[in-house]
């Protein structure tokens, strides 16, 4: 269990992490989500005692990280796949970590086997591909068989097989009752692995919710309409008390009214429709909307009212659509 209490980090004028308070629970995968530069890595470094917080504290099982005497047995972390001396072999890299925590040498062979690097244990780490480096970093995290695991962007630069491996790894670690905390800037990745979500933007906490709740609250479903008779459609919908949003290119979006009702309504009023399709906004769009708000709030603080409005749905919808269709198919 990891507890953050008002964790704050300021670099000069810039607030990298602003008063973060949340708890990471055991037994589930907790996703730590935010756009690039949101403060994810800084937060993780403070959790690990590498950076000193300006204010607040992060506690591992109730203790500050610096108070842990043999931290590898409590918490294993993968911060950066290349956080190792390139001239040292994989085995020696793990061995010096193991020795610093009094972990027996045999365990090094075990974790090398677990991550599938036994064949290259004697090779220098600088010859490793990104995926192999990532695996070596994970081997280091697993070294003390810790109850808490922390991964910073573990799928970055991995091939599909490696991504699949890491997803299964995180899920199985959590199912053993461990605390798994993983950061990412990809909502789609988190949707597949995380049970719980912590979202930050500009260093501030934006959401701390279960994945199911996040999906329920944020996957907006609406109906898209297209018609050559713009004025009549607006009149008809206005009479029926249906709110409609114009999305450009002659399309309209209606929230909260089933497509069947809209179709029958159009038929009754002899409206020509070129399109009548139920739509579902992807989680990626929901995430972008959530973080875009925080970005705009900070950038244009003087007209915060307009800044808080979500961006037009058509804008982000195009690139999210492909992913959304994939989700539907699977």
């Amino acid at each position: 269990m990891i507890e953050l209490e008002g964790l704050t980090k300021r670099y000069g004028e810039k607030m990298a992490v602003n008063n973060l308070t949340f708890t990471v629970h055991p037994g589930i995968v907790t996703g730590f989500l935010g756009p690039n530069g949101a403060g994810k890595s800084t937060t993780m470094r403070m959790m690990l005692g590498l950076d000193n917080p300006t204010a607040g504290a992060a506690r591992i099982d109730g203790k500050r990280y610096a108070q842990l005497k043999d931290p590898l047995k409590y918490i294993g972390a993968l911060l950066d796949a290349k956080a190792m001396h390139g001239g040292r072999s994989a085995f020696n890299h793990l061995l010096c970590l193991a020795q610093s925590n009094g972990i027996p040498r045999a365990r090094v062979h075990e974790v090398l086997d677990t991550v599938g690097l036994t064949q290259v244990a004697g090779k220098k780490a600088k010859g490793f591909s990104l995926g192999m480096g990532q695996r070596l970093g994970i081997a280091g995290a697993l070294l003390g068989d810790p109850e808490i695991l922390m991964f910073d962007e573990p799928v970055n630069g991995l091939d599909p097989e490696g991504i699949h491996w890491i997803r299964n790894l995180m899920k199985s670690l959590a199912s053993q009752g461990r605390t798994v905390f993983v950061s990412s800037h990809l909502m789609s990745e988190m949707a597949l692995t995380a049970d719980h979500l912590v979202v930050i933007g500009q260093g501030r906490l934006l959401a701390d919710t279960s994945m199911a709740d996040f999906i329920r609250q944020n996957s907006r479903s609406y109906v898209r309409l297209r018609t050559p008779q713009r004025e009549r459609l607006l009149d008809v919908l206005h009479q029926e008390g249906v709110t409609v949003v114009e999305a450009g290119n002659g399309t309209f979006e209606v929230d909260g009214t089933p497509s069947e009702d809209l179709g029958e309504l159009a038929a009754r009023h002899q409206l020509v429709l070129h399109e009548l399709s139920p739509q579902q906004a992807s989680l990626e769009e929901a995430f972008m909307r959530l973080t875009a708000e925080s970005v705009e709030y900070h950038a244009h603080a003087d007209h915060a009212g307009s800044g808080a409005a979500p961006p037009p749905p058509g804008q982000g919808g195009d690139w999210g659509a492909g992913w959304q269709q994939q989700r539907k198919r699977s």
Binding site: K63, H85, N92, C96, V111, N168, Q176
Partner: protein, 320 residues
């Protein structure tokens, strides 16, 4: 331990960890995901039902059967770790190898050019002096690399994550490096002394005791290396720290030439002349026939202790 074929939510995964984590001798609470945490910390809502045991999960469960003893870590762990680190990179072998070749090689050349009577009132280790003047740069380089290479590669984050007691890591680095540097440098000087005395132990050679030069000479260049290690820890940059250390060694040897010109700066110039690294080594090896070099050695001890204190002070304060 075998894995049951069907997943049993909560029960099965919880059986294994207590074997692996308990008992913690330092009395640290080790809360598990289970219902009765020993530390009494509030527990999370029950986790989601686990996925069917995959091949990976079975591997992990097997890993549990090898219990990892939980012990309180101490300086000995850090020393073992730093020993593995220093011997598992190639730069150690290169810098120490070049040092050894310089001291012994140049020492042999000098010994071959000298006569028995040259050693009438100087120690037999004098030929090692010439190699040490060059070789000290190897020890400076290695000392800097011991700390700064961790910052350069990012390894330092892994190191401090594994050992949050940063002072212990630095102390272990200093000890390991100092012992290695002293053994290699004193050993090289001893070897040169033995070979020279073997070549020139005729009746014309004096009977000057040279054991002190082995110890003091080794100590002086090893301390220079430790000073470099502290500089590497403070500057966190290999090239910067090596340049700074070369400045420390060379500037006091060159600057007196200019300081002697003006009457006002002459006393400062003379002090620098007396205490620069090259002249200090010369004094230790009794080049001037007087012997000594103790005050020069003490100055280096003082500077090194101050640099180590600075490195420790900055170590805890700064982010990595």
């Amino acid at each position: 331990m075998t894995t049951p074929p069907t997943p049993q939510p909560q029960a099965q995964p919880q059986q294994a960890p207590p074997q692996a984590y308990a008992p913690a001798p330092q009395g640290a609470p080790v809360p598990q995901g289970g219902p009765v945490p020993p530390g009494g910390a509030p527990m999370a809502p029950p986790p989601a039902a686990p996925a069917p045991p995959s091949a990976w999960q079975q591997a992990m469960n097997n890993a549990y059967t090898s219990p990892i003893p939980v012990r309180k870590t101490h300086l000995g762990n850090a020393l073992a770790s730093e020993w593995t680190k220093i011997k598992s990179v190639r730069s150690t072998m290169w810098t120490l190898g070049v040092f050894f070749l310089l001291v012994v090689g140049i020492g042999l050349l000098v010994a071959g050019q000298t006569q028995d009577r040259d050693y009438a009132d100087v120690p037999f280790t004098i030929p090692a002096f010439f190699g040490l003047v060059l070789g000290q740069i190897c020890l400076i380089t290695l000392g800097v690399l011991v700390t700064s290479s961790e910052y350069g590669t990012g390894m330092i984050r892994t190191t401090f994550t594994a050992s949050p007691q940063r002072y212990r890591v630095l102390a272990a680095k200093i000890l390991i490096f100092f012992v290695i540097a002293f053994v290699v440098s004193a050993g090289s000087i001893l070897l040169v002394g033995l070979m020279t005395s073997g070549m020139h132990s005729g009746p014309e050679a004096g009977d000057v005791d040279w054991s002190g030069t082995v110890l003091k000479g080794g100590l002086y260049v090893s301390l220079l290396g430790v000073l470099a290690l502290a500089a590497g820890s403070m500057l966190r940059h290999s090239a910067g720290a090596i340049t700074a250390m070369l400045g420390v060694v060379l500037v006091p040897a060159i600057l007196p030439v200019f300081l002697m010109i003006s009457e006002g700066t002459r006393p400062l110039g003379e002090k620098m002349m007396d205490y620069n690294a090259i002249n200090s080594l010369a004094k230790i090896f009794e080049m001037d026939g007087e012997g000594g070099g103790t005050s020069q050695l003490l100055l280096l001890v003082g500077v090194t202790v101050a640099a180590i204190a600075g490195a420790f002070a900055l170590l805890e304060k700064r982010d990595v």
